[in-house]
Amino acid sequence: MSRAEILESADAAVAGIEDGSTVLVGGFGLAGMPFDLIDALIRQGAKDLTIVSNNAGNGDVGLAALLAAGRVRKVLCSFPRQADSWVFDGLYRAGKIELEVVPQGNLAERMRAAGAGIGAFYCPTAVGTPLAEGKEEREIDGRKYLLEYPIKGDYALIGAHVADGLGNLVYRKTARNFGPVMATAATTTIVQVDEIVEPGTLDPEAVVTPSIYVDRVVQVAARHYTVQGAR
């Protein structure tokens, strides 16, 4: 509720995240990954976290660093295994982290359901596969569906391009990815942006995440990261 807070630092933005929280983390590979917020979360120290994100960390930075710091109990993601996911791989093989694999579209739709007040929905993805195990199946109009439940976060950490002073957000290109749905699905949504502008500057027709979904905003320095090896 109420207008987003504009904070001076990423550390201030992640203050108060409790041990045991479920944290939705934006980004697809590196695009849209909220690196500054994750680094601040590592400094902040919250542990026993459940992380919901498309991947389970790349290289030794961002989510991978959070995992390496031993703060994560469980990961829900679509694609943990990548060429550079050695941190996750090691923890998983050592039995030190739980994994729930969720098809990418279900990950997005389940968070959308959480944000939209939908109790559950019938989805055709994964019918007849190992990921259907334990799920209720129902035939509707001759097609089979699985019942999928919402994924709600206590916090969302997302990266956007520009915020206005009220918290309205726009993104850049495919860095938009999970940000808009995660913003709707978390109790507290924390956003790092490249720039903060005055209300009235963003085109109201082009706002992607309306301010109602945004609780805390911090402007961070331009992102510098390499793209190589991000598979």
């Binding site: 509720m1 109420s2 939209a116 309205n168 005055e198 009235g200 963003l202 109201p204 309306p210 109602i212």
Partner: protein
């Protein structure tokens, strides 16, 4: 169901006009809240929000940061509120489609929604969409979505019908809009909390709490 009342304070020495009542509701809306004001009397609340309150108005036809009614050249047929009245946009506005707008509501992201009503029950049941008369054409619009959507659903209405029947009742006789969804009822004669613990008089206008309780059939605890 428990129904309680206490010696609630008398907030005014006369029944409030709908404009006065709108000011009372406006005073109870927290600064910075996201609010949907239903069609009819509740739209008047916008006129009484203090400058700088930072309250952001939502209209379910697809907009946040709606401004006041449009006048003269500012009238734009593409920019209306849910009552199809031309309105304006404030800095920081955002437009979205109907599925996104109702997801916002149903998902519990609005802080307050203020609706009109035919009847509200002591336990928070709401009836505001259909008289139930056989020749009446049913029309629900966004009433049921609004009723279950906001964190707090307030009702603003006259306490009695023109023929003197109470509209705050032990149990609704009109078809329901939502079950146990209302938390507070603002009326010309007083303000009430309603919900699972029953009804409680918060404040009265131009009438004593005991007399009001008696007229409504609210029994002491």
């Amino acid at each position: 169901m428990t129904t309680t009342y206490s010696g609630a304070p008398t907030g005014a020495d006369h029944r409030l006009s709908m404009d006065e009542l709108a000011a009372v509701v406006a005073g109870d809306i927290p600064a910075g809240a996201f609010v949907n004001l239903g069609i009819g009397q509740p739209t008047k609340i916008a006129n009484h929000l203090p400058a700088g309150s930072g309250v952001v108005l939502h209209t379910e036809n697809g907009m946040l940061n709606m401004g006041p009614k449009a006048e003269g050249d500012a009238v734009d047929p593409d920019l209306t509120n849910a009552g199809k009245v031309p309105v304006t946009e404030l800095p920081g506005a955002a437009y979205f489609h109907h599925a996104d707008s109702f997801a916002m509501m149903r998902g519990g992201h609005l802080d307050v929604c203020v609706l009109g009503a035919y009847q509200v029950a002591f336990d928070g049941d709401l009836a505001n969409w259909h008289t139930g008369k056989p020749d009446d054409i049913p029309a629900v619009g966004g009433a049921m979505d609004l009723a279950i959507g906001a964190k707090d659903v307030y009702v603003m209405m006259t306490l009695f019908t023109r023929s003197g029947e109470p509209k705050l009742v032990p149990k609704c006789t009109y078809p329901l809009t939502g079950v146990g969804c209302v938390s507070r009822v603002y009326t010309d004669c007083g303000v009430f909390d309603v919900g699972p613990d029953g009804v409680r008089i918060r404040e009265t206008y131009g009438v004593g709490a005991h007399e009001l309780a008696e007229r409504l059939g609210i029994t002491p605890p």
